[in-house]
Symmetry: C2
Subunit: 128 residues, 2 copies
DNA sequence: CTGAATCCCGCCAGATACTG
DNA sequence: CAGTATCTGGCGGGATTCAG
């Protein structure tokens, strides 16, 4: 009886695809913004304040990237002063749910990692 | 009847913790290497060849980082020529399983995203 | 073979100022 | 308010060389 593990073969195209998505997820701001938009549409400065520490430029660029990927929608109201709302698309929400396990993992293992880092650094310090 | 959604409150510490993990996951090479090590320990150059396109320097730095975080172990055999094996720790494997949903999501939505990008870019081109 | 060390360039993000 | 435009410094990362 054959007992092969059916690994989804790692073609280079798959790698690139995953990398492409991971680049978005790994982006310092993208996920934070997606999380924020998780509970409803928000305005530009609203996001800026909520995230904290992001420059106007980066927020603009990040939002553009998310919009380009079809993860958020941008709707502007022709009022004065202007008002622009950003909202998660269905795709965005599905990404959000795919990212959640990672968040859970993060919260439950951060302590472990922090300790590992401390131990590693301590050892490194003793060597020199 | 009240229908509140119980969101895990987003404290800044949580954000930093998640960001810290996301930084690792988002790192261009970390996850690829973790995936590779998923089916058993591998040698330095073995990883280098398998990943493809990574510089020696980056591979070294990435592996150090993963080791520091307690995600992989480094065991060197005092032979000539030297031989070093890298292997996933339990923590590393648990991260791997947390990342998997993302991989699944990526594969099933890459087409959608690619199309979204194309559409976005086309619109942008028409404007100018 | 597995690394450490050095040089060096490109681009990325922050700061700032300006526009509709 | 919600962006663009421009400049600039820092540093991430490739290429190369040396070492054990």
């Amino acid at each position: 009886m054959q007992v092969t593990v059916k690994l989804p073969d790692h073609k280079s195209e798959d790698c690139r695809a995953i990398s492409s998505v991971l680049a978005r997820v790994g982006d310092k701001w993208s996920v934070l913004i997606i999380v924020l938009l998780g509970d409803g549409p928000k305005r530009f400065n609203e996001i800026k304040r909520a995230v904290g520490g992001i420059s106007q430029r980066m927020l603009t660029l990040t939002l553009r990237g998310l919009e380009r990927d079809g993860l958020v929608t941008r709707t502007q109201f022709p009022t004065i002063p202007p008002r622009v709302d950003y909202e998660l698309t269905d795709l965005g929400r599905s990404l959000w749910s795919a990212v959640e396990p990672l968040g859970v993992w993060a919260r439950s293992h951060v302590g472990h990692i922090t300790k590992a880092r401390a131990g590693f650094d301590e050892k490194a310090d003793l060597q020199e």
